[in-house]
Symmetry: C2
């Protein structure tokens, strides 16, 4: 999986001439910065301007806003997802909860990511996309948690993904609130907690 991601990045970088590759990096750096400050709706024109390239060059490298967002977040999301498989622990429920918090914090601290994940997948078949990576990582954790009886009946991977993204969008740039809200939703808001 992480191999697939690395291969996809190699493809995007290797097939370019030296100047093309340099421009691509500049665009990504500018995009990262502007998305951090302006959110997912950051102006593509401004990104191209900051990168010192024409707007047509940006569109040549990234056919759509979604493609650019994917490229900006792919590495970070891949690392996050790799961590989901690392834990060989003994408490699947706690591991699921901990990883969901990581995902939510990551979404809340990377403006535009949650919005991108929420958007219709828009997946070119065979393409490695953030949504697919996250879903795959989460699927494993959910399966183990469910097998251990640590998950409420009727809760699916899609539910948890939707919840984490919803909270990520709603609390963008406020990770503390994001985590608090996620924990409350996991534990339940409608009745007093029992025990420690």
């Amino acid at each position: 999986m992480s191999d697939r991601v690395r291969a996809a990045n190699k493809n995007a970088e290797k097939a370019l001439r030296a100047d093309g590759r340099r421009n691509r990096e500049r665009i990504l750096a500018a995009a990262e910065e502007l998305i951090a400050s302006d959110g997912a709706q950051a102006s593509l024109e401004a990104i191209a301007r900051n990168a010192g390239v024409g707007s047509a060059t940006l569109h040549r490298h990234f056919a759509s806003r979604g493609a650019l967002l994917e490229a900006v977040f792919r590495d970070g999301v891949a690392q996050l997802c790799a961590r989901a498989a690392d834990n060989p622990g003994t408490d699947p429920g706690a591991e699921l909860a901990a990883w969901l918090e990581e995902l939510t914090v990551y979404a809340a601290t990377h403006r535009g990511l949650a919005a991108a994940l929420l958007a219709a997948p828009d997946v070119v078949p065979e393409q490695v996309c953030c949504t697919a990576m996250v879903r795959e990582a989460l699927d494993g954790l959910v399966a183990r948690a469910a097998a251990a009886g640590a998950l409420n009946t009727g809760v699916s991977t899609g539910d948890l993904l939707l919840l984490a993204n919803a909270i990520g969008v709603a609390t963008e740039a406020d990770p503390a609130t994001a985590v608090r809200l996620l924990r409350l939703a996991m534990a339940g808001m409608g009745r007093p907690r029992r025990g420690p």
Copy 2:
């Protein structure tokens, strides 16, 4: 409260000349339609065009996109909030849950509302705004539920508002999913439910 709302609308309508009032209604009708189909980011230009007025006229009536969204949703939200006070029931926890579901469904079926509620309040002092109405209505329900011990410790009105809006944004135009997600979050996702 509902009086304040009615007064605010009277103010906005009464002080206008006949043609101004007619244009205002046309703009609101066009806005309702386009926001329903395009979401909260609907083009103001297109709204003015559909209403048959110049774009400057739209800006004269509604100084900002937020002001227009407020006007579009104010009546519906006021009715929703009025219903929060109607119930003299005996199960505050259930009443809170039921009203939160109503709010979430309303948000999910009125594209743009949740996004508008999530946006920074941006409240002109003394102005009746949707956020304030909802918060006031919810405050009452929360207080009664908390007094009855039906609410998880540490859950505030703001938490529930944020959660409902987050789910509303994430599931826009899919009220069934919105309700399912809200119920799961209220009951808790992280452990099996007990009893009926």
